[in-house]
C-alpha cells in the first residue's frame, strides 16, 4: 500500500515548517543499532537497524580468476535482495530495478573509495585472486534501506576474516577462517542519501516520507567532505543552489552516521 495523498500532503506541510512526524530534524538520522554476526558461517556479517528498517549483510569469499584488465586485483560483487518477507510491496522473482540500484550504489560506494585494498587480495597474479561477495538482504522496510545496506556492508567487511587458501588444490577451504582480516583503509567511506520532498531536503526518510520524495542524491564519501561516488535518482530536477545544500547536508549526515557506527569500525 502506498502512502495516501492526505498523509503525503501533511508530510510536505510539516516539512515546509521544518518539522517531521517523528519529531526529528530534517538532517537527523533515526537511531542506528548494529549487531554482529548474523551468521557464523559467513566470513563476516552484520545486522543494521535504522529505526524500524532492518537489513542483514553478509560477506563470502571465493577464489577466482582475475579480470583481464586487473590481473593483480581481487574482485568485489555486491548483490541486493529486497525480500518479499520485508514488505508487501516486494515480489519474488528476478531482481527488479530497486534491488539492482541498491547493489550497484553500495558497490560503487565501497569500490571507488578505495576502502578495500584489492591488490592485497591477489593470490597469484593473472591466475588467482579473492572475490569478495557482499550480499544484502532487507528484513523490514521502513524507508532508507539503501543507507542501512551501505552501513551493513562496511561493518561486515570490517569484521570479516579471509578463509584459508589451499595452495595444492588452489581452492578456498570453507569453514576454516584465518585470523587475517580483509585489508581495508582507516578512512571510512560512508554512503548517505539526501531526499527532496517538496522544497525540503531530508535524510533518512521513513517509508511514508520516501513515498513522497521526488528526487534523491546518493553520495559516497567521507565525513570530511571527500566524495568518491554519486548518483541522482528519480526524475525531479535540482537547482545548483539545492545541489550545494545537498552536499552540505550529505556531509553533516556522514558525520552523524560515522559517530554512530565508529565503535564497530575499530
Amino acid at each position: 500500500m502506498q502512502t495516501p495523498k492526505i498523509t503525503a500532503d501533511r508530510i510536505r506541510e510539516y516539512l515546509s515548517s521544518g518539522k517531521r512526524f517523528d519529531g526529528r530534524g530534517l538532517g537527523e538520522f533515526r537511531d542506528i543499532v548494529i549487531e554482529t554476526p548474523v551468521s557464523v558461517k559467513a566470513e563476516g556479517s552484520a545486522r543494521v537497524r535504522i529505526g524500524k528498517t532492518e537489513v542483514i549483510v553478509g560477506i563470502k569469499m571465493d577464489v577466482s580468476e582475475p579480470y583481464p584488465d586487473s590481473p593483480n586485483k581481487g574482485n568485489l560483487m555486491v548483490t541486493g535482495e529486497l525480500l518479499p518477507l520485508s514488505s508487501s510491496r516486494f515480489e519474488s522473482g528476478p531482481p527488479k530495478f530497486p534491488a539492482i540500484e541498491l547493489g550497484r550504489l553500495v558497490d560503487r560506494g565501497i569500490r571507488e573509495s578505495g576502502f578495500i585494498d584489492f591488490e592485497k587480495l591477489c593470490i597469484e597474479e593473472g591466475k588467482k585472486v579473492w572475490t569478495v561477495f557482499v550480499d544484502v538482504y532487507s528484513i523490514n522496510d521502513d524507508g532508507n534501506i539503501l543507507d542501512a545496506a551501505a552501513i551493513g556492508a562496511l561493518v561486515a567487511l570490517k569484521n570479516a576474516k579471509i578463509p584459508r587458501y589451499d595452495e595444492e588444490s588452489g581452492k578456498a577451504v570453507y569453514g576454516e577462517l584465518t585470523d587475517v582480516s580483509i585489508p581495508v583503509s582507516e578512512e571510512v567511506p560512508i554512503v548517505t542519501t539526501v531526499y527532496k520532498i517538496g522544497d525540503s531536503l531530508v535524510v533518512d526518510p521513513t517509508l511514508e516520507e520516501q513515498d513522497v520524495c521526488e528526487t534523491k542524491v546518493t553520495i559516497g564519501g567521507t565525513a570530511e567532505g571527500k566524495i568518491f561516488s554519486m548518483q541522482k535518482g528519480d526524475s525531479k530536477e535540482l537547482s545548483i543552489d539545492e545541489m550545494a545544500k545537498v552536499l552540505e547536508l550529505s556531509k553533516e549526515s556522514k558525520k552523524e552516521v560515522l559517530s554512530k557506527i565508529e565503535e564497530y569500525m575499530k
Binding site: V38, I56, I59, S86
Partner: protein
C-alpha cells in the same frame, strides 16, 4: 547403546538449545524466528490477501503459498541467490506440513504468503523453517485447529538421535547417516515426513515415537514465545 557419543556430546534424545520469538518483522501481519542451536530461521506471513492473477483463485478454499530460501551467507559455501530445485521442493513440503491445521476454507479466492529465510544453517533447516512458519501464522491470527511442530530424527550408523546437526548429517561410519525430518500436530498426526538413507521398518517406527516426544518439547517453546508476545492488557504487542 548408552555409550554412544554424539559429536557435540548431546544425549541421543537431546534437542539443541531452542529459542523462539514472534514479531521480528514489524511490516508483516505475523512473523517469527526459531532456532535449533546454530540453525536460525525467520518467517513472515502476509495475508490473507487477494490472489493474483485471478485465474489462480480457488473459490473452494484459500491458498497457502510458502517460500523457503537460504540466505547466501547462511552456509560456508556461498549459495547463489534465487530459487533452486531443493528450495522449491522444501517450499512445497512446508505448505503440505502446515495446511492441515489451517482453517483455510474461511478464505476462498485469497492467498496467505509465508516467506521463510534461513539466516544461519547447521542442518535441520526445514524443521526450523516450519516451526517459525507455524508460529508466524499463529502470530498473524490465522485460525488454526492446532499447532504443528517439526523435528529431524537421525540414524547415525545404528543409533537413532533427535535433532540432527551438520556434523551428524555428514556421518560416514557404519551404515552412515539417515535423515528423517518429521512434522506433527499436537494430536500426534503426521503432516510431513521425509527420509534419506537406509532404515528398517522397526527403526522407523521407533524414530516416529522419538519425534512424537521431541515435537512436544518444540511445541512448549513455540507456546511460550506466543504467550510472551501477548500483552496482558489485551491485544498483540
Amino acid at each position: 547403546m548408552a555409550e554412544f557419543k554424539r559429536p557435540d556430546g548431546r544425549k541421543v534424545d537431546q534437542i539443541r538449545e531452542m529459542s523462539a520469538e514472534v514479531g521480528v518483522v514489524p511490516n508483516a501481519d505475523g512473523s517469527a524466528k526459531f532456532s535449533f542451536g546454530k540453525t536460525v530461521a525467520i518467517a513472515a506471513v502476509y495475508g490473507p490477501g487477494k490472489m493474483h492473477p485471478q485465474h489462480s483463485q480457488n473459490p473452494e478454499k484459500g491458498t497457502l503459498r510458502c517460500n523457503y530460501n537460504m540466505i547466501s551467507f547462511s552456509v560456508t559455501d556461498r549459495i547463489r541467490p534465487g530459487p533452486s530445485r531443493r528450495s522449491t521442493e522444501i517450499s512445497k513440503i512446508t505448505e503440505w506440513a502446515l495446511e492441515p491445521v489451517l482453517m483455510i476454507k474461511k478464505y476462498p479466492n485469497m492467498v496467505i504468503d509465508v516467506h521463510i529465510h534461513i539466516l544461519q544453517a547447521d542442518a535441520s533447516t526445514r524443521c526450523a523453517g516450519i516451526n517459525a512458519a507455524a508460529l508466524a501464522l499463529a502470530h498473524a491470527g490465522i485460525p488454526m485447529k492446532e499447532m504443528v511442530s517439526s523435528i529431524s530424527i537421525g540414524k547415525l550408523d545404528k543409533q537413532l538421535v533427535v535433532d540432527v546437526d551438520k556434523d551428524e548429517e555428514d556421518w560416514e561410519e557404519g551404515e552412515g547417516a539417515t535423515d528423517i525430518p518429521i512434522t506433527m500436530t499436537q494430536s500426534d498426526k503426521i503432516t510431513h515426513i521425509q527420509l534419506d538413507g537406509k532404515i528398517t521398518d522397526e527403526e522407523l517406527k521407533q524414530a516416529i515415537e522419538l519425534a512424537k516426544k521431541a515435537t512436544k518439547e518444540v511445541y512448549e517453546v513455540q507456546k511460550k514465545a506466543l504467550k510472551e508476545s501477548v500483552n496482558l492488557e489485551g491485544g498483540n504487542k
